[in-house]
């Protein structure tokens, strides 16, 4: 397979350098040449073969084998309303006949095909690596939300089927999606990035610090203010802010530090009139704060542990209550205990008093 017919640039790199295509990674030819990676695309893309040849900058070949395949393709072409006169379809003429309107059809097919391959490529190891470089160079921009303080975003789609919706930007700081500010992206198909990429990216690189640098300097103050509030909230132990040591390093498979740094206390907009908060009881008071909330005690998101904490009939159930539970429940509790064990150990090391926090909390709830 020879590359590029005299053109200095490959089709792929010229496609990626087009205006509005800044989000695309350059799919490696190896990836495209592996038929396995193209499974099922033939039925989605008109003039598949020609499009693929165009992407790979391959001259169409005229050997017999391909002719047979072409025959099928041609049927597709007709269905798609290709107006090329039949006379042109003689083998051998093909290359020369491929002009003007024909070429533009293939071009758009090639773009579609490239987009669909791209959707798969960026979830592959080399592809996601390439996107990481683009992400770190902030090629995709930052979150428009003020409280995300410039969190870097990723291009995602809301659908994996082409032609549904344009590309959106996923912000890991607030787990929300936004329309790209620049209108040149409003014509880029979201399916070319796919629904999976956004989250898969951050699961692939869990150590990637998603919060802005600014964040580190902000968190101590919020911790300070919350500890000042402590005495008044002692009646509601669930709201109590744990010291950072009490927080797990990881919650539900995500580093706690990287888990929605743009959400939670201090990151929720509080409307005020002349300095006074607008009351919830007002007819037009705040109603959407839940959307940007995050528990201060991140353990509240450990649902298994929560379940275990709430269900025991006695406060001490996590120690000797097993006998009173039916076997299923007991098993659940054992599993939950196992999960919670490291955290309890950490607490006991730190301070003596909070060691029985779990049981007292359980009592308050149950």
């Amino acid at each position: 397979m020879s590359s590029s017919e005299g053109a200095p640039e490959s089709w792929i790199s010229s496609f990626c350098s087009l205006m509005g295509h800044e989000f695309f990674a350059e799919v490696s030819e190896d990836f495209i040449e592996d038929d396995f990676n193209l499974t099922g695309l033939q039925s989605q893309v008109p003039m598949y073969k020609e499009a693929l040849e165009m992407i790979l900058d391959v001259e169409p070949e005229d050997d017999e084998e391909e002719e047979e395949e072409e025959e099928e393709e041609e049927d597709d072409d007709e269905i798609l309303g290709d107006e090329r006169p039949l006379g042109y379809r003689r083998a051998g003429d093909r290359r020369h006949a491929r002009v003007a309107s024909d070429l533009s059809v293939i071009e758009s097919s090639a773009e579609l095909l490239y987009g669909l391959i791209h959707q798969r490529y960026i979830t592959s190891r080399p592809g996601i690596q390439q996107m990481l470089e683009k992400y770190e160079m902030q090629h995709f921009g930052v979150c428009p939300r003020v409280n995300c303080s410039g969190c870097k975003v990723l291009p995602v789609g809301r659908s994996d089927t082409p032609g549904q919706e344009t590309v959106k930007l996923f912000c890991p700081g607030c787990m929300d999606i936004y329309t790209p500010p620049n209108s040149r992206f409003h014509s880029v198909d979201g399916a070319f990035f796919g629904t999976t990429f956004g989250c898969l990216f951050f699961m692939t690189f869990p150590d990637l610090s998603v919060g802005p640098r600014l964040d580190a300097s902000l968190s101590p103050t919020s911790r300070l203010s919350s500890s000042a509030n402590r005495p008044t909230q002692s009646s509601a132990p669930d709201l109590e802010t744990p010291t950072p040591e009490e927080q797990p390093l990881e919650i539900n498979g995500v580093h706690t530090l990287n888990f929605c740094p743009g959400l939670g206390r201090g990151k929720i907009y509080d409307p005020k009139i002349y300095g006074f908060k607008v009351s919830e009881a007002s007819r037009v008071g705040p109603r959407m704060k839940w959307l940007r909330m995050k528990p201060r005690n991140i353990y509240e998101l450990d649902e298994a542990a929560q379940h275990e904490r709430v269900t025991p009939s006695e406060p001490d159930a996590d120690k000797d209550g097993d006998t009173e539970m039916d076997p299923n429940q007991a098993q659940d509790a054992v599993i939950a205990n196992r999960k919670k064990a490291p955290m309890r150990r950490r607490r006991q090391q730190g301070e003596a008093a909070p060691s029985d926090q779990i049981s007292t909390r359980g009592a308050d709830i149950g």
Binding site: Q164, T179, T195, C199, G253, C260, I273, A281
Partner: protein, 268 residues
């Protein structure tokens, strides 16, 4: 911008300064302040200490400026005039007339549309995070998701937030409560190969509980309130959006229909 202004004022005085100011590029967020308001000294209380060359600036804004000043001084005065206009603007837009003017602009989407996808391009309102000048630049408030965003255009990003103030958008909806948009429980749900992502889903469930709490609190307050889809059903809502890929054409109808039925099931 500065050059534009100079050439404009130097060449002719046919249009009023305020006309020119609100129609010049980058000042799309401002509305025109009534002359009556500007000339009432009460409305300008305290601003004389805030603005250098206060009297000249005021004269310029009210088109009675006739001082032969050199370019340097002139530039200073023009800068002051813009600053003064901004500060008066913050006061003006919370008056009845000002609110009405800003409301018109809001309805015309002069302040842009919410970038959040789920908000469906809801019109925004300008606001500041501080009432003191030069603390922070203007932000945009979306009444639908009740969050604030940075303006996407850099020419707006440099406007002082104090020219709009912290209270304006809240006052607007207090005065026109009927205009407060319906709030939606829909949200983006990250997925990997069609499966919800645990960390995000757990947070979403927790947030839904918070919303339930809000519901009960509002009931205690005696404030009737409903989200468009009403509570509980957004799980199904999002499910349909993402799983019915084959039949996306009728997606919207589907969401509405299924949400409604979901609600009936849940509430009995």
């Amino acid at each position: 911008m500065m050059e534009d202004f100079n050439s404009e004022t130097d060449s002719d005085y046919t249009s009023y300064w305020r006309d020119w100011f609100v129609s010049s590029r980058g000042n799309e967020y401002f509305c025109e302040i009534d002359e009556d308001y500007l000339t009432d000294r009460f409305n300008l209380t305290g601003l004389n200490t805030e603005v250098p060359y206060y009297q000249y600036a005021l004269d310029l804004v009210t088109d009675v400026f006739d001082l032969d000043a050199d370019d340097d001084l002139r530039e200073q005065i023009e800068k002051s005039a813009r600053h003064l206009y901004g500060l008066v603007h913050a006061r003006y837009i919370v008056t009845t007339r000002g609110l009405a003017k800003m409301l018109d602009k809001y309805k015309k989407c002069d302040f842009g549309k919410c970038p959040r996808v789920i908000c469906d391009g809801h019109p925004l309102l300008p606001m500041g995070q501080s009432d003191l000048p030069s603390m922070s630049t203007v932000k945009l408030y979306c009444p639908k998701c009740e969050d604030i965003y940075n303006p996407k255009s850099s020419r707006h990003a440099s406007i002082d937030g104090a020219y709009f103030g912290t209270s304006f958008h809240s006052i607007l909806f207090q005065v026109y409560p009927a205009l407060s948009p319906e709030k939606s429980v829909r949200r983006y749900e990250p997925r990997i190969y069609g499966f919800k992502v645990h960390a995000a889903a757990a947070l979403a469930r927790w947030q839904d509980n918070q919303r339930e709490d809000l519901h009960w609190r509002l009931r205690d307050f005696g404030v009737p309130f409903k989200f468009i889809e009403d509570s509980d059903s957004e799980d199904e809502d999002v499910d349909y959006e993402y799983t019915e890929k084959g039949t996306e054409g009728s997606k919207d109808d589907k969401v509405v229909g299924d949400t409604a039925s979901g609600r009936m099931d849940l509430n009995n």
